[in-house]
Symmetry: C2
């Protein structure tokens, strides 16, 4: 899907597949080669990695200039800091914000409840909502009375990984719901077949909320759009910066 | 105060004071000198800086190995990421956690409300509470119905900078309150004299809460203790690591 969209947009796209048992050093050398290649503006390590490869050290090997996933520790730090702007923001969280923005949802001052705190979705989306001046609550597997907590949310982002986990009566009437979950779940009628389900019980939510993103659709396609946007921004940056580094003068 | 405690603990302490109009390049050179000095294990840039100096670029110049304040972007990023441990955690947030721990307060599963989202207190304390498995809400100046939000907190951390801002009836009965605020406010009886006040109305809170930190006392002294702890940890690290850098083998 990423490849299809990139090619449609006229980007050069290289899908490098490696043997399941690739050596760490070899994979790092491949990443280093892309880091050094001036024709490459974005590098994405498709997760999950095989168990013998340490996810963090591999993703951290991607040059911060080409980290279109926004997973580099320096980009994460800058996302957390006021007064700093990361070079890249993770795509799925950015997609959530883009959907809110496009739907004209007011964020500042509203109470946003994020369910999930993963490095790639829950945590960074909470950072973005906070930067957009929402009051932000983060829930996770150890949250007590989760239904009551979710019910305080004017905006609810569900990034849990459990099909139809969030029930209709957990939602404040009129809430705006972003359903990040992509779960395969058995088809209700066709035995053996599977369907895609979000983390929110869509049928129950629909009469309660003022807006909700569908699964499939919604966050998924927008995530890919954000990846493309990050890559284009990276290419623009690389072209416009003829200087190797900038130093502020005193 | 930092100097007094450090000297009592037998640490070498150097207070470098610079002229108000010091050049940025000169200050950076001084920091570089401390970065390079193997006898120095902790460097702290006392904030606020004069207006002509950019706070972020100065604090970021401190070596990540000696960043006892925990303000370096890489330490901030690691604090935000699951599966990562920063070299240093900012001292005041760490002090809040230490106070909760020493008082035997259960954090996991509890609802923690943090008022304030600054880089040095509110934001990192929210990260620490989340890492300790609290459900975490962050409030700030744009939060609507703040009293109602604060009232959901089993644990409330106030880091606002407004004397006695949090009222007694904003608190859930039995809540545990950490008052980070240090505000000078006119003495109620002696005209012209000043008193120190926290961000919480202590007298109103006392009958409602199960525990509250006093101001002065409480978070302030514990913050200095955490700074000393960070410095000692840094010295230990520097002694025990004879290798200049460590690389994981595949
Ligand atoms: N649309 C898109 O483009 C994308 C969709 N996704 C989808 O989003 C979902 C989340 O992904 P990801 O963040 O990577 O998942 P993770 O498994 O990394 O994180 C799941 C989070 O949900 C929390 N959680 C799990 N069970 C519960 C529960 N019973 N109650 C409350 N919280 C719970 C976990 O809590 P704890 O931290 O305590 O373990 C954790 O923080 C998945 O369905 C995934 O497929 C992911 C990426 C992109
Ligand atoms: N005990 C100790 O060792 C230390 C104590 N302190 C004390 O802690 C307090 C906070 O310090 P610091 O974090 O540096 O301060 P900052 O001024 O950097 O941040 C204050 C935070 O409080 C929020 N805030 C301000 N007014 C309101 C309001 N009316 N309602 C809700 N939120 C509000 C601000 O919101 P917004 O982001 O929207 O502007 C901001 O996030 C101060 O009193 C300071 O003296 C600080 C450091 C160490």
């Amino acid at each position: 899907m990423k490849q299809k969209v990139a090619v449609e947009l006229g980007m050069d796209f290289t899908l490098k597949q490696f043997p399941e048992d690739i050596h760490r050093a070899q994979l790092l050398a491949e990443i280093e080669r892309f880091n050094a290649d001036p024709k490459v503006h974005g590098i994405l390590v498709q997760l999950p990695l095989p168990a013998h490869l340490d996810e963090r050290s591999i993703t951290q090997a991607v040059s911060i200039q080409k980290d279109v996933d926004g997973f580099h520790v320096s980009n994460v730090g800058k996302l957390a800091l006021r007064g700093e702007t990361p070079l890249f923001v993770p795509c799925t969280p950015q997609a959530c914000m883009e959907l809110l923005k496009r739907s004209g949802v007011q964020i500042a001052g509203k109470h946003a409840v994020v369910i999930g705190r993963s490095n790639i979705v829950g945590h960074p989306v909470a950072e973005l909502l906070l930067k957009a001046n929402a009051t932000v609550t983060v829930c996770h597997s150890q949250t007590q009375n989760i239904a009551d907590v979710v019910r305080t949310g004017d905006i609810v982002v569900a990034a849990i990984g459990q099909p139809a986990f969030v029930r209709g009566d957990w939602l404040k009437p009129g809430a705006v719901v972003i359903d990040v979950g992509i779960n395969t779940s058995p088809h209700p009628e066709k035995p053996g077949a599977m369907v895609l389900k979000g983390d929110v019980n869509f049928e129950e939510a629909l009469p309660v909320v003022s807006a909700i993103t569908p699964v499939p659709g919604g966050v998924g396609p927008m995530t890919i759009a954000m990846l493309m946007q990050n890559t284009v921004a990276s290419a623009q940056r690389s072209v416009s910066s003829s200087l190797p580094a900038m130093h502020l003068l005193p």
